[in-house]
Amino acid sequence: MYPDDLGYTSEHEWVRADGDHWLVGITAYAQEELGDVVYVELPTPGESFAAGDEFGTVESVKAVSPLYVPMSGEILEVNEELEAQPELINEEPYAAGWMIRLAASDPSERDALLDAQAYQQFVNELRA
């Protein structure tokens, strides 16, 4: 449900190291809560964000949720597949459903994120 190699935020984003860069998406819990994702609005490569900034929105039929960057940095690439196939976020949240590729300005920010176990616990509390 929550892969061990990812870092998690309490806003339900995940981050994964990918070479020198970082991939960001939303968790299985987040996509389940949203229901069928119909649209995702992503930034333009080249834009920079500080950790915790809003970088886009994800939409279901009746809800819009903001997306926050887990780590500061510059957007290198966005997942353009999602424009035609937003359902990838529901189907493969940790793989084909990734959203942005980031060049982190301070990789140590990764250490402040939740690990899989802590995130699982957090989700359990939300569900209780």
Binding site: D36, V38, Y39, E59, V61, P86, E87
Partner: protein, 485 residues
């Protein structure tokens, strides 16, 4: 295929519907007076006969539910009976076939009607000044907030925040944003009213106004209104009232008397200009004297026995409409108020409130009632008990369709889980309400005994539940012409 094809599918080359007028002049060839590069070569409109067009739209109309079909208890929308006389007066040639820019000397009746309607609305609400220019409630809200900002500015104050209770309609926070304000959400207290402690903490020198809905979207009158107004004024801010629910207050209280500074009215709700399948509405704005200089212009003024448009005012927030608003709807609202008079309006409020309380009392055994107190013109129930049975409020709503009743507003206000917001209005009879109660009870039983009946509903409507996910993922919002079409 749908049951009813698109109008384009009824088209046949060379067929025509209506005929244009007989030529009055020797025709001028467009190519002689306009460059050929400015003329279009194709005009891909349908070509259908008059009878086909008439039948097409008649058959489409049959797929709609309406107030004149059966009960339509859509909370917050005041779906009351639309008197037919309103449609007659609005079509009076002297009130319909008049041009907005004809000289005021030739439009005295229209100006008088607007002037008198503004005076009637002033009497009903207690505010000294009213503008009927806003085309809808949301435009009234924008004018109201801009007027408040202009007033602050006239006192050399800059305020950048607006407080909006979390029970508010979405238009309130959206209007705050359009007015350049930071929107601060106020949580609702346990009794459904405003939390005074929280209000005190939220009020500061940066707050321009609070926008509150009265009665609230929970259908409750704010019992602490006097304290709220006092606190807000003490902080130098203004009280904006969303008047969508004025129907509950007609003749029972004038909002201006409560110290409210500005309020908009939805004439299509309270004063029964029809809803038209989703507009046009009309959204009058009523203000206290200190805000009058900022009302939208042009304003209609009386000079002796004649009526005129006032000169431009340097303090006005400006125009929000090309002329004087949705005049056709003003004629209907004026007709409605003149037809009912003071007693009739009060009777409307009384019956609207009694009807809602009758539903509350009759349904509270079968549905949860999150705020168990006397309500005003609408009652908010919750489908939380049914949710435990695996039935959602959406299912209850869809099952109502099978019984021929329009569902209430659902999942709003957003602070109530599984909300069912029911506004019967004054024009439903006791028998009609009893039928609704009976159906709602039956649905509560079905939720227990046969929940799939609710999950599968509706089965008696022209279509079953729709695939909204695909509609949103891959929007098809127009008929795409076939190649060679």
């Amino acid at each position: 295929m749908t049951d009813e094809p698109l109008i384009y599918d009824l088209s046949s080359p060379g067929r025509r519907g209506v005929h244009s007028p007989l030529p009055q002049f020797d025709p001028v060839d467009p190519g002689d007076v306009l460059p050929s590069s400015e003329l279009r070569t194709d005009l891909p409109l349908p070509e259908a006969s008059e009878i086909d067009v008439m039948r097409h739209f008649l058959r489409l109309s049959h797929k709609n539910h309406s107030v004149d079909t059966a009960m339509y208890p859509l909370g917050s929308c005041t779906m009351k009976y639309n008197p037919k006389v309103n449609e007659v007066t609005a079509r009076t040639p002297g009130l319909a076939d008049i041009h907005p820019y004809q000289p005021p000397e030739t439009a005295q009746g229209a100006l008088e009607l607007i002037y008198e309607l503004e005076a009637l609305l002033a009497s009903i609400t207690g505010f000294p000044a009213v503008s009927t220019q806003p085309a809808a409630g949301s435009q009234g809200e924008l004018c109201g907030l801009l007027s408040i900002l202009a007033w602050h500015e006239s006192r050399a104050e800059t305020r950048t925040q607006v407080l909006v209770p979390d029970s508010a309609h979405g238009t309130n926070p959206a209007t705050g944003t359009m007015s350049g304000l930071e929107v601060i959400s106020l949580p609702t207290a346990d009794d459904g009213g405003i939390d005074l402690q929280n209000l005190k903490e939220s009020l500061g020198p940066g707050v321009a106004a609070i926008m509150l809905t009265l009665p609230s979207t929970l259908g409750l009158f704010e019992r602490r209104i006097a304290e709220v107004v006092e606190l807000v004024h003490a902080a130098g801010a203004q009280v904006y009232c969303d008047g969508a629910n004025m129907n509950a207050m007609l003749g029972r209280v004038r909002p201006a008397d409560l110290g409210i500074d500005v309020m908009h009215l939805n004439l299509h709700k309270t004063f029964s200009t029809p809803h038209g399948g989703g507009g046009p509405g009309a959204g009058a704005l009523a203000v206290q004297a200190h805000l009058e200089p900022f009302l939208p212009e042009p304003r209609v003024v009386r000079k002796g026995d004649t009526f005129a448009l006032a000169e431009p005012s340097p303090t006005s927030i400006g125009r929000v409409h090309s002329h004087l608003g949705n005049f056709g709807n003003l004629v209907r609202a004026y007709t409605f108020i003149r037809s009912l008079g003071a007693e009739g309006l009060r009777e409307a409020a009384d019956d609207a409130v009694l009807n809602a309380n009758y539903l509350r009392a009759s349904l509270s055994d079968d549905y949860d009632l999150p705020y168990d107190r006397t309500c005003m013109h609408e009652v908010v129930l919750a489908g939380t008990r049914q949710r435990r049975l695996g039935v959602r409020t959406l299912d209850i709503a869809k099952r109502l369709i099978d019984y021929g009743i329009h569902p209430p507003t659902i999942y709003f206000p957003i602070i109530v889980d599984e909300a069912l917001m029911i506004e019967p209005t004054e024009t439903e009879s006791r028998e009609s309400l009893d039928n609704f109660i009976d159906v709602m009870r039956r649905i509560a039983r079905e939720a227990e005994s046969d929940p799939d009946k609710l999950h599968d509903a509706p089965v008696n409507a022209p279509v079953r539940r729709l695939d909204e996910v695909t509609a949103n993922r891959r929007p098809n919002v127009r008929r795409v012409p076939e190649s060679g079409d």
